[in-house]
Amino acid sequence: MLVAVTFMVLLERKVIAWVQVRLGPMRVGPYGVLQPIADVVKLMTKEDITPVRADKIVFTAAPMIALIPALIVFAVIPFGPVVSIFGREVALYITDINVGLLYIVSVASIGVYGIILAGWASNSKYPLLASLRASAQLISYEVAVTMTLVSMIVSAGTMSMIGIVNAQYQQGVWYLFAQPVAFFIYFVGGLAETNRAPFDLPEAEQELTGGFHTEYSGMRFALFFLAEYANMIVVSSVATTLFLGGWLRPFPNIEALSFLGIIPGWIWFLLKTFIWLYIFLWVRATLPRYRYDQLMRLGWKVLIPLAIANVIITATVKVLV
């Protein structure tokens, strides 16, 4: 997981470099594949500076508060069904609770504290502004995303992540095709909740230097970075589970394609998640940043009404059909 994050950073630098017709990191290892290791060593050995006027306790706690929720969300994400490895039954998920989706929403919302506390504890102008921006953005888009999740729950009839994948199997359709509006809202909201471009206003270099982690350095900065990428992976894997049928192979109900079943489910899952992550990078390399009022207008006046309308339509269709 954490190794995946470090390689995500390399991938991001590479992809953006390719989009911009550059080479990206090339020095460490062939084509720069060992760059993440060098980065980690650098970050760990770097001096860890605490500003004199910072609030020491909160300043130390904030990176941890940001990272821990991002990691514990993985407890409910199913990488695959129960499989047998060398004759032993192994479940490719940690736990299957019947409120899985709510758990993800609630745990992820704790992460906002990390950002807002980091900005406050730094006792400095730019981080505070950035953290207020970030948390306002997170709270606004959380509403829209949660409403789309409600419509997913309505169509699947369960909140368990495993149950949602199984529902897609039984209904014979990935929810990407059954719920395109929900998919769109979730994707835009996911970009905004992870503070990625084009919604990366909290880190707008031109306006706010480095964002809420301007005053952080060394390993504490690395923790924020880890949290951001871990959140990206969380959003991608939740999207995979909800909209792309989790570990199911493409067209799981068509017998003619059953040769695809040779590839185990967790590889499908990772593949789909990877596609998501690639789209994240692609969007970042392609789109310019939104203005703050545009961001808020999009969130409150477009996405939330759309999400609520989607819930109503989904529920109506569910009752009628």
Binding site: D55, I57, V58, I97, N98, V99, L102, Y103, V105, S106, V107, S109, I110, V112, Y113, I116, L117, W120, L128, L132, S135, I139, M159
Partner: protein
């Protein structure tokens, strides 16, 4: 036995955090301790096998309401740190009266046995999403709707207060 240990540990922690919430000088620490306290309460629910309640506790209280407190504290504290507040004891009479009222209520409830025992069927059955939804939208529909209207009124009021010229 293990359940009892978990319960009493959590209960002691919850009480300790609650005491710290009201004794800490720094307002922001107070809000943060409150959030931690709510998280511990959620753990308590989870240890009683009521995951739905635990998750909602985290979502509504720890992440929702306290976050708004934190916002307010951060924005207000920029102007005036708590040390400079005049006359820290001015709320003491009201506080005493309120505390006495709550204590009286508690005593009344325990004395008259108004604390009903939990319905049969265990926490697992009572706390499931389907059961709660069924109760909420049939037996308790009117209180539910009234509560939502109340929240709407509060929201409209807040907007009117915040934006004087609309």
């Amino acid at each position: 036995m293990a359940e009892a240990i978990i319960f009493y540990t959590l209960a002691a922690l919850i009480l300790a955090f609650a005491v710290m919430v009201v004794t800490v000088r720094n307002t922001l620490y107070s809000a943060l301790l409150l959030a931690a306290d709510f998280l511990l309460v959620a753990l308590l629910y989870a240890s009683m096998n009521n995951l739905l309640l635990a998750v909602i506790q985290v979502m509504v209280y720890a992440a929702g309401i306290v976050l708004v407190y934190v916002f307010v504290v951060i924005l207000v504290n920029l102007k005036r740190p708590p040390e400079q507040q005049p006359d820290r004891g001015r709320y003491r009479p009201i506080g005493t009266i309120l505390a006495a009222a709550v204590l009286g209520e508690l005593i009344l409830i325990t004395a008259t046995g108004a604390l009903r025992p939990a319905p049969a069927g265990g926490a697992e059955a009572v706390g499931s999403v389907e059961n709660i939804a069924m109760e909420l939208f049939t037996n308790y529909l009117i209180p539910f709707e009234v509560a939502s209207m109340l929240l709407l009124v509060a929201m409209v009021g807040a907007i009117v207060l915040a934006k004087k010229e609309l």
